[in-house]
Symmetry: C2
Subunit: 449 residues, 2 copies
């Protein structure tokens, strides 16, 4: 690879590596939090230990990240309600101005000296395969990575995270469906450096199977499989979508050919105005249809799977009804929108419906009798079969959304909200959506790998 | 079966059976023609014999048919040009006011005392498997049937022909693609009566194989196979279309359930007016497109296969281009027309075009490079592949017909005529076709089995 690779990555390192001042501040704050948490645990009627986890614990955070995760580990003998009560008690003690959130357990999240702090209770199980909930696994990940990452490798991890952020695929939340910090660390451990990561990923042929501890016991149907070194039954990359893994291949190939610091910067186009959106639609000559409704009150990790399931249901129905979908998108903010760009606006009043072969005896004569006095055209014979041209149920994409939306598979929470009311937008009407989702539509109409 | 069957068929017999007067007149004319032909042969420098063939020779013509076919058989040693010269000489001698036509040989056709007469030369080969051209086979057919048909069976044949005419599938010409007189006779010989014909055909499961002499040596891929008793390698029903065989099954089943003299009468609806056709199109909400041109100067047996091949080419192209054809028809009179009813009028300016999987190395990067600076949307990544939305070549059915018609497989003679010029009609414009093809469109918009 070129010297340019070195030049470019050096420049990026300056940006992603926290300087000594930032490190020092973080260490001070983390130390203080841990001390406070430890003190709070001594007030409890049970014992527990405190561990700092996450990227700030292992020196792999990129400059500007401000997350400090502190876990409170209790004995596996502690009943779950006690664990939750004690965990919250420690949390409130450390973060008196925090707020309670809920993942697998309730926990306290808050702010301390400019850092975002989570105080999370978990069980101190013997091994990652004995976990009670996903958070129990985190300390094992932290321990595994910490034991293997030296400061040089930590730098390679930061560079790699910067690259994934630039592509827009850093994060294992269910909206992003990308690469978690732990997965990034495992890939850098596997390949040894960012350069080697780029060179290797650019050559990936999917599916890719990586098993650092060579202990995997299951097979997975995912495009990228990285067996968790702390749990032989888990694919750390399970959440990565096919599209995102493919996009990573694309971007590493591009970076290899033509290294550019820009690739570490997430493209953020100017929001599209409704007027520009109208122009785009007019030039594409497609028929977009959209369902807009109040966004269900859910965290993103619950909301986006619901939106995607609903979008897929609506798309499928529009395809089955002959409106041939070209592309889809779903966005949420105050409102949520299912957006489907169709190729077909309207279909005829009739549709061809094939009956049985004429020589199929009673089956055939039943079909003939059913339709002979109906309003359908026919029956007539085409080749071996009876055929009728019968009235089509839905002749426009709009009518499918207005009349048939509850017959498709929707996310439950989305269905509940839709029952309260929703708006159907068709064609140029959809351009008003750019008021709320201008940035999203800017990306939609200038799609990139 | 009901007594009604008897009542209905008796009434039909009165119509299809020629009375003694008609028989007598035919016999007289046929005798006279044969005598004249024999006399003409004696004038030739070679010998030849005269045979009357066809339905009027075997008593299976239906009342009102007025075809007398006289064959002049020469030795197989006679060179082809001599056969043609001598055949025409006999023809002109018998029918001085006739005209020359051309099937496999030239022959003379004309009128005599109200009958349509053909004088056709052929070779007196030893057996039907040694024929030089299709007409040589005819005397063998006549001989085979004459030897087996008594007057009662001849009556059953006439009734069956009447039924086939009522369905509109009597005739082995390439426009009708139905049942020849010979095929009808063989089926009646096989089944023994019209009643048994109806009962059996109503139960047919296609394909049906009939081999009266049990001597077939080939297999055929046709829905109905009736091995020629005079030629083990020939399917007498080869020309019957799948649709027509199926229609016969339908009509025999209907007749069995509810015998009606109307089934022996070909439905001939009033011609549709252009105004009514506009109403039909408006209510169907389809997009008909038509290509109208001067009918090529060909006999029907050459014209219709050409029209059908062209229609199929045009339909295929419209389907490939996304205009989803619903039904098609072709008609010819002074002009000829390829009529295709589409479900889709227009498509967007763009079409989705999938590239290779992103992980396909150079193949993938070539695709990306090809499109990255093009006017297409994308490339972007969807699942494992690169995708672009590129300009669509044809966005309307009209433009396909106006700009791409010569890229489709057309009949040669049709292509020649189209190169001289043609008219494209779309939507309501097509209604003018009802001026010339009103009866055809009346059937089209009220399709029956």
């Amino acid at each position: 690879m070129s010297d340019e690779f070195e030049t470019v990555t050096e420049r990026v390192r300056e940006r992603v590596d926290p300087d000594s001042e930032e490190r020092k501040r973080l260490d001070e704050v983390a130390e203080r939090l841990i001390a406070q948490a430890k003190a709070a645990v001594t007030e409890l009627p049970v014992s527990g230990d405190i561990v700092q986890v996450g990227s700030t614990a292992r020196g792999t955070w990129t400059s500007g990240d401000r997350d400090i995760d502190v876990f409170v580990r209790f004995s596996p003998d502690l009943p779950r309600e006690k664990l939750e009560t004690y965990g919250l008690r420690v949390g409130w003690s450390v973060l008196p101005d925090g707020r309670e959130e809920f993942a697998e357990h309730p926990y306290v999240t808050g702010e301390c000296a400019g850092f975002a702090v989570d105080i999370v209770p978990c069980y101190a199980v013997e091994s990652a395969s004995e976990i009670r909930s996903a958070v129990d696994r985190t300390p094992f990940h932290s321990e595994y990575v910490t034991a293997r990452l030296d400061p040089t490798l930590a730098g390679e991890v930061r560079l790699t995270k910067g690259f994934l952020k630039g592509v827009g695929i850093y994060g294992s939340d269910l909206k992003t469906k990308g690469f978690s910090g732990y997965l990034t660390e495992l890939l850098v451990l596997e390949y040894g450096s960012f350069r080697s990561f780029v060179e290797t990923v650019a050559q990936w042929r999917l599916p890719v199977d990586i098993d650092p501890e060579d202990h995997g016991t299951r097979s997975f149907n995912d495009p990228l499989v990285v067996i968790d070194p702390t749990d032989p039954e888990r694919n750390v990359a399970a959440v990565c979508s096919q599209t995102n893994v493919s996009r990573l291949i694309h971007h590493t190939r591009l970076f290899q050919t033509d290294p550019d610091t820009e690739q570490f910067v997430l493209d953020s186009p100017d929001p599209l105005s409704p007027e520009k959106m109208q122009q785009e639609l007019a030039s594409r000559e497609t028929t977009p249809v959209a369902v807009q409704f109040d966004a269900p009150d859910l965290v993103d990790d619950q909301l986006y799977p619901q939106l995607e399931r609903s979008l897929s249901g609506v798309r499928g129905e529009l395809d089955r009804r002959g409106f041939e979908t070209l592309r889809t998108a779903t966005f949420a903010n105050d409102s949520a929108v299912l957006f489907v760009e169709c190729e077909i606006t309207e279909r005829p009043a009739i549709e061809r419906h094939e009956g049985p072969p004429v020589d199929a005896g009673e089956h055939a004569s039943d079909f003939y009798e059913k339709y002979v006095d109906s309003e359908a055209y026919g029956p007539f014979v085409d080749g071996e079969r009876y055929v009728v041209e019968r009235p089509r149920e839905f002749t426009s994409a709009r009518s499918v959304l207005e009349e048939a939306i509850f017959s498709v598979a929707l996310g439950v929470a989305v269905e509940d909200v839709l029952r309260e009311g929703y708006e159907v937008l068709v064609g140029q009407e959809t351009a008003v959506l750019a008021d709320e989702f201008g940035a999203e539509f800017a990306r939609y109409f200038d799609p990139k790998p």
